[in-house]
Symmetry: C2
Subunit: 496 residues, 2 copies
């Protein structure tokens, strides 16, 4: 044991000899977290985009097509005009009363903007309530009541900068240490794995059954739970993504009932990621919220803790860059609500325009309003086009050699399984990449199309997938399909 | 030891017997974190505001005056018109080309909006680069070069939803476990204590010297560091808030040089919270950035790791609700930069309009531009008014019995020390409140003015303070002063 002064001297010397923020010294939880949707593939695609912009003709493609991320407005989907008019009007003091504004903006957009300006102190430029502006939380509560048939309390609704920070804050509240496990689907949207890792918790995967359109069964949930408990873990919550990301399945009322019963029996919180609730395409399928099913099940289940998440980024709104979202707490203790309020308040509030977009999404123009016809037209055009694109892509993937692809019942993705030849697996190994990452990198290098390897989402050992959004504009989708097919055939031949 | 099935059964029973998100079971790090700027006082003030709005005449005041938070636009400060015009123009597709728009918007605002729309794929509604839009990062880099005389690399700049999440992500990267300590000033802005607690780290306070206008000395930094090390802690970083929050001091070049030398000697990262860089009022004082001083000190100091934070919420921009900000990494390893990029990407990107506000703040209209005169007028009006209000408030506080208040050299706050009579301390104890929290609660109940108790920021044992912003509009400031004086005199008499 050193004497204190010497220990201090040694410590100081050690400290000086290397920087603090290095691979050796940075928080290892940060180092370990993975987020595949924006990894090396995306960095390479940014590079390609720059080269193309600068006139580089050496690449085998003329444009980069981002199918890696659910980002509709970058791919020519039009923003809802009503929503944008309101955003413009609330930002320029006096604009709602300017005579010229009547020529540029619809009267219901002007009225809505006035309503927000009258009810949000300081408008878009001031910090608001840390839970979010009350008038918007009331709009959300009314939406929830219309959707589910049960009233909602604006005090249980927290407006957030998109769903992602809401999920992260929730996981922070749940995870005390590495012994706390969160059940998450495999494949899963990697926000969950990343946030669980950053909070030092354990992800316990439950596998979705690819042979049954990515169904989750109680048997599998129980198997995963027991596995975690046998390892000494405390299972704290189950994350469910409905409609599924990356897998696109849409849960039935019966599925949801089973999961709720499981959650009650095992004493776990349900985290319902319902950001794709507007995106359902399959015949006979419809979105049913965990909230509605839980309330339908009656008072015997009012000890089941449910936190649900929604976002302005998906649906037919597609306002990703706005970072708008909310979470609703159902059957959650007052103490926990207070803690969530405190967590939100450390960041002061979510961005006000994101909040307004939540208000606009949940309280759109109604029949009889000046903007209604255009709103309905935009909504229907976008949703029917997404459906056509989903069907077309799934069909095309199923025609490729060694590829099978489940129907995209909902959400914005296809998740085909690819059977890769042993030589390709070998080449991937040499390149230091997972086989599906290798496949995706070659696809990018050859076609300019960015998709995300299945290994970023998790998959059954020995299977390989990729996730492609269904978002390329309709006029481009044939080109995407053709390029993918040509690439795939060449890839298979190259490594056969 | 139970057999496995029995253990499982018992575990399941135990789980079922209580909810997961309760005081007993929630992550204790969340429970322990404190954030005083928005605590019970604010909740009570929200209650009062509602009662007043609903016509309640039973309160002894007619309005609530929020002096608890640096939120200028809620207190009649006008937003910069140019900035708002650009935000409106980028949000409505086609508006930049509409003939009527020329009557409503300045030509330079239209040109800037076009520039952003041309250079930000998908506009404000699409996810952008996780570091932030490149064109805005270039605007920030140019600003840094103009300000400091040294070029900046846009790749070292990360756009964030205000400074708060940037500070939180940085602390997450720094803190591995409870043995990692962060030096933070006492008094401090409680974002630091809250984020350190949430990340499970240790806050080691260094005291600012109230008798020397809240100066920090190397002796005190060394004392704090040694204290932490003697407790077995590894000191990882020092947070410096300049100009100070809540204390208002503005560091000299010499102060900053000393802190940089200290950081090099002790091997700690400097976290420079410079969000109040435009808010300097004291004669002979000016803001100098850590970045400039560090670069001025030459290559011998290019192993000193510096992360600086800025925000659109303060200065004369005051766009708090926008949640715009950035951090710049200086002398930080490539590995750590990659990790920050990954952390940002888990949230996809910061909100695009917040990013645009950062661009507008750092690249405002120039002389000769159509909007320049109005921009300069708004800037000068706001800053000179803030200065007058700061001087007036400090003078008024110093005239109260038992109150001393340092000059507000910069930032947006006064932080007077109050000497409370023993009977008041006794009454506070009975009410279960810190004496200064008790004082502030009585002030709110009597006057409707919200200020934050010093105990929320930390203070020397046995001293009591409160923080009041200097933001009430000039026409109201005399009323605030008068009400505070009357309340203070009554309070002192009541508990004498």
């Amino acid at each position: 044991m050193f004497s204190r002064p010497l220990a201090r001297y040694t410590a100081a010397l050690q400290q000086r000899s290397f920087a603090v923020l290095t691979r050796e010294s940075i928080n290892p939880k940060v180092l370990d977290a993975e987020y595949a949707v924006r990894g090396p593939l995306v960095l390479r695609s940014v590079e390609y985009t720059k080269r193309l912009k600068n006139g580089d003709k050496s690449l085998p493609f003329a444009k980069v097509i981002p199918c890696n991320i659910g980002n509709p407005l970058i791919l020519k989907q039009e923003p809802i005009e009503f929503h944008r008019q309101v955003l413009a009007l609330v930002n320029v003091p006096g604009l709602v009363d300017a005579p010229e504004a009547k020529k540029l903006f619809q009267p219901d957009a002007i009225a809505r903007a006035k309503f927000y300006l009258d009810n949000i102190p300081g408008g878009t430029g001031a910090y608001g309530h840390s839970k979010g502006s009350e008038v918007v939380r009331i709009e959300v509560a009314n939406f929830l009541e219309r959707r589910d048939g049960y009233p909602a309390d604006p005090e249980d609704i927290f407006l957030t900068d998109g769903a992602s920070p809401a999920v992260q804050n929730t996981l922070m509240a749940l995870i005390r240490d590495g012994n706390d496990a969160i059940l998450a689907p495999i494949p899963q949207y990697p926000l969950y794995s990343a946030a669980i890792a950053l909070n030092g918790g354990t992800l316990t995967g439950y596998y979705l059954d690819e042979s049954k359109t990515w169904a989750s069964t109680v048997d599998e949930l129980t198997r995963a739970t027991n596995e975690a408990r046998n390892q000494g873990k405390t299972v704290r919550a189950i994350a469910v993504i409905n409609p599924g990301n990356p897998t696109g399945q849409c849960l039935t009322t019966e599925n949801i009932q089973e999961i709720i019963k499981f959650a009650q029996k095992e004493g776990v919180v349900i985290l319902a990621d319902e950001v794709y609730q507007e995106n359902v395409y399959a015949a006979g399928k419809e979105f049913v919220s965990f909230r509605k099913v839980l309330k339908d099940m009656g008072p015997a289940y009012n000890n089941v803790e449910l936190i649900s998440f929604h976002s302005t980024s998906k649906g037919f709104t597609g306002e990703c860059g706005r970072r708008g979202g909310y979470m609703e707490l159902v059957n959650i203790s007052e103490c926990a609500k207070d803690q969530f309020y405190k967590l939100m308040s450390v960041n002061l509030c979510s961005n006000i325009e994101g909040q307004l977009m939540v208000g606009l999404m949940t309280n759109p123009p109604k029949e009889g309003d000046a903007s209604y016809a255009r709103y309905a037209e935009q909504r229907d055009t976008t949703l029917s086009s997404l459906k056509r694109r989903a069907v077309k892509l799934v069909k095309a993937f199923n025609e490729l050699e060694g590829v099978t692809c489940n129907e995209t019942e909902g959400a914005m993705y296809t998740f085909p399984q690819i059977t890769l030849p042993p030589k390709a697996v070998e080449a991937a190994k040499k390149a230091g990449l997972a086989p599906d990452a290798f496949y995706c990198m070659e696809m990018l290098d050859t076609t300019g199309i960015i998709v995300v390897p299945g290994s970023g989402f998790g998959q059954q050992e020995g299977t390989w997938h990729f996730r492609s959004t269904i978002l390329p504009p309709e006029e481009d989708i044939d080109e995407v399909i053709e390029k993918t097919a040509t690439f795939h055939a060449d890839f298979m031949n190259k490594y056969r």
